[in-house]
Symmetry: C2
């Protein structure tokens, strides 16, 4: 096999998204150069193209955080065991999956140190120290870091890894209303990351009582539907009430000089967002990315014969310069050792949203041929207004991706009113099944036991308002599982 | 004591930089809100103002890295013990100070995992996999992360902590010249961070053979002189030769299809740069920052009586808006509960470079009073051209800080030609003592035993050129310590 045909084969995705989504996903991640498996199970190495996607998410979120009063900080990656134990539910929730440092250099440590699984237990005591008066509130801290949770599951890059990158926000407020407003601000920003940056529509809601973050009063979530019918928890924002403030003594002198206990929140979005991004848009040719996050937005592929090489390259380079100057991320692919077909495949695999093909005819007619990823829609635009035209095409590509995902979501929220109906619908279609629910965890268990599906969210009564997270009331008042009186609505789905 | 006077006292720095630099440093770090001590010895919590300084350094360096072909990545924070052992010198160099994870959840791990002290041992094997042909070279990877080195020393925020933030770059090249060019590019960027961002002049050089990074052929360094006469290693760039490439099998098919071994480099700059920044410019009133990195560049303090409040605040707010629009980081300090004197002290403590004082006279005369940090130089500028005037004042503040540090450096490189002379000069003045050196580690030991000073660098023959790191030849050829034949020059200094 020639070097070229061997490499062509390496470029091809051999698995099928519709038939074997798990294998297909793993192949796209590897072949598009996003991540590799580390030697220890559960860990991955994030390669340049994958890390650039994470940076795109960071840039967007971090900017919005700064605009809304959040300060970045950095806390130690280790938490002494005695600190972890101060909030009972945190230690019960996380203890089974903590990685422990027990040796430093050649010595055994006197106290084991947890590699942070989340940082409430180390941040809260400092907040207690820093917050003295109502004037110090609200206090809003955030850190971008990695955390470790020792879960014994199969590695799935970005979806399931023992170490993962995320941001964790931690805030303290003078009153309950302030904490609720915070919870909705952050949930809204997570929704915006999905909707406006990743081209993924999401559902907002809260988690059932039994599935909250350890120690939280309320956990809110944005959920994204994957093409294989499963739901991904896209980001969570927790109202922690006063449990952490009481455990760690975060109190302050109010305006009346009386000592009061603060309310706290925490909220996090992890690189699971990258998993959702890859899974949602990509196809059997490889990665598909919205132009908002694509490290390369435009690949220019000049097509020449020996006698046309100079004019084609010159014309292409001028367009590349003009687009770069206008702020686009452009790659002029003038490699001599590759033919255009190979280049097309490679840029498709790598998820470049827009390809410009430029041959002697384009030069002669002062035009450019443009090809969209993923649907190969082709257009021809005049050389003159190329910057505006490209901008327009990129917007259309974003809209196509978003619209396809939105249509899928719309089509995949179904109602059911009996256990067989819930399970039948989930089995046939996947997606979300909406049902009245009595609120008893046993009803979720009854479904979970028979098929790996659970309650992923309860829709909110008034979305995004400064409410206290009241959930939607059902139209019928019979629990879809046990038939008892139901005052809530639940969405069942299979998850990652 | 009233609340105000109690808080005023908290604002004051009580230690003296010249008499007790260590205690003074710790007090500035804490009172200016840069960092706090974590509950575990050797760890700190980086607070918003401290972290913002680190972000300023990141922004500058990361931009330059991107312009010079570096891709950001993220590797696991844990390294299996067997990987660490593959490069003999790395394991010998770092084993005594590795923190080990031995338990995951409730299970003992089969193999201990090192919390990364540096990542050559986990990055090199992946480079070996990713590099196949000369077309894949040079490969330049960088990550921003934290590392852990379990050193049993007293905690000194940013200077000596068991966990610290840094960036580590790792590159592979087809030939030795390519690796050398890389070493100088990165050392040059580190120099630029100090000179152009932190207002600290540095010396460039290489470390003596016996003080190289474990496994390196050559370690180059930038060194900064602190006001107490000690030298800080500001960033290091290592030519690793072929030792890592051989240990981890990083080889490639050359243009002639022959398999060849790569050359690698690594380079890192840590938050010690923040330590140098704080130590260099700050004074007995608190933090002093160059405008380049100051989170707040300009504090506007309106000074009013009841009858002038409205006009003064309106005038001040308009100026704040105009400066913000021009891109400056401005704080309009219109707090009602604080008097101007308190505000002046607070902004001085926090290192705000420029203060604008605006009272009724300024409003009437359409002027602004400006006060520099740290020397209290005062100026008056017209309201009209305030943006340009502020820009000019900030530049002058930067230059003042830089010039003072540069003068100190110039004055503190002295020559000596005998052991008593070396030690006497170091004892009397601190700074650098330049001496001919035979190259024998024993000569360094002889000095080190008597006073805590060491060879911090050897000046390069041709600075910044694409040389292979040849060091300056001495004028006299007698080693300043033992009197033997000397072909090299060494700089002795006390260090952190």
């Amino acid at each position: 096999m020639s070097e070229e045909s061997q490499e062509s084969q390496e470029l091809g995705i051999t698995e099928s998204k519709s038939h074997r989504p798990g294998e297909w996903y793993a192949e796209v991640v590897r072949k598009a150069g996003l991540a590799d498996y580390a030697p220890m199970g559960g860990f991955i190495v994030t390669k340049p193209r994958g890390y650039a996607l994470w940076e795109a998410i960071q840039d967007a979120l971090d900017g919005w955080f700064a605009e809304t009063g959040v300060d970045n900080v950095y806390f130690p990656m280790f938490i002494p065991e005695s600190f972890l134990e101060r909030e009972k539910e945190i230690v019960e929730g996380f203890d089974p999956e903590v990685a422990w440092v027990t040796q430093g250099g050649h010595d055994e440590l006197e106290e084991r140190l947890a590699v942070r699984p989340t940082s409430e237990s180390i941040i809260a005591p400092f907040m207690a120290d820093w917050v003295r008066s109502h004037r110090d509130l609200p206090m809003r801290l955030n850190q971008w870091c990695s955390v470790v949770r020792w879960e014994a599951t199969e590695t799935k890059p970005f979806f399931r890894t023992k170490e993962f990158l995320w941001q964790e926000g931690h805030t303290a407020h003078a009153d309950d209303a302030g904490a609720w407003a915070e919870v909705w601000t952050r949930l809204g920003q997570y929704e915006r990351v999905y909707e406006d940056v990743l081209a993924i529509p999401v559902l907002r809601g809260k988690k059932p009582e039994h599935d909250k973050f350890p120690g939280a009063d309320t956990t809110t979530t944005v959920e994204a539907l994957m093409p294989d019918g499963r739901s991904v928890q896209g980001g969570t924002s927790h109202h922690l009430g006063q449990s952490f403030a009481e455990a760690f003594d975060i109190s302050f002198a109010g305006e009346d000089e009386e000592e009061q206990t603060a309310y706290t929140t925490s909220w996090g979005l992890s690189w699971r967002a990258l998993g959702a991004l890859i899974m949602t848009h990509s196809d059997d040719q490889g990665l598909v990315l919205p132009p908002t996050v694509a490290p390369t937005q435009i690949a220019i592929v000049p097509i020449w014969q020996e006698d046309t090489q100079e004019e084609v390259l010159e014309y292409s380079a001028a367009i590349a310069d003009e687009l770069e100057e206008a702020g686009f991320r452009v790659e002029l692919d003038d490699r001599d050792e590759r033919n255009p077909g190979f280049k097309f495949n490679e840029h498709e695999l790598n998820g470049v949203p827009l390809r410009l093909e430029i041959g002697p005819y384009e030069v002669e007619d002062e035009e450019v041929t443009l090809v969209h990823r993923p649907d190969k829609e082709e257009g021809v635009e005049g050389r003159e207004g190329i910057v505006d035209a490209v901008d327009d095409h990129l917007d259309r590509i974003y809209d196509k991706l978003y619209d396809a995902a939105a249509e899928r979501l719309d089509d995949n929220v179904r109602e059911a009113h009996a256990p067989e109906d819930i399970m039948g619908t989930l089995g046939r279609h996947g997606g979300y099944v909406k049902t009245p629910w009595c609120g008893d965890e046993a009803c979720e268990e009854a479904i979970k036991e028979k098929m790996a599906a659970e309650i992923v969210l309860q829709p909110l009564e008034a979305e995004g308002g400064e409410t206290a997270g009241e959930v939607e009331k059902p139209e019928s008042e019979e629990c879809g599982v046990c038939g008892d009186h139901a005052e809530e609505v639940a969405y069942f789905a299979r998850t990652y």
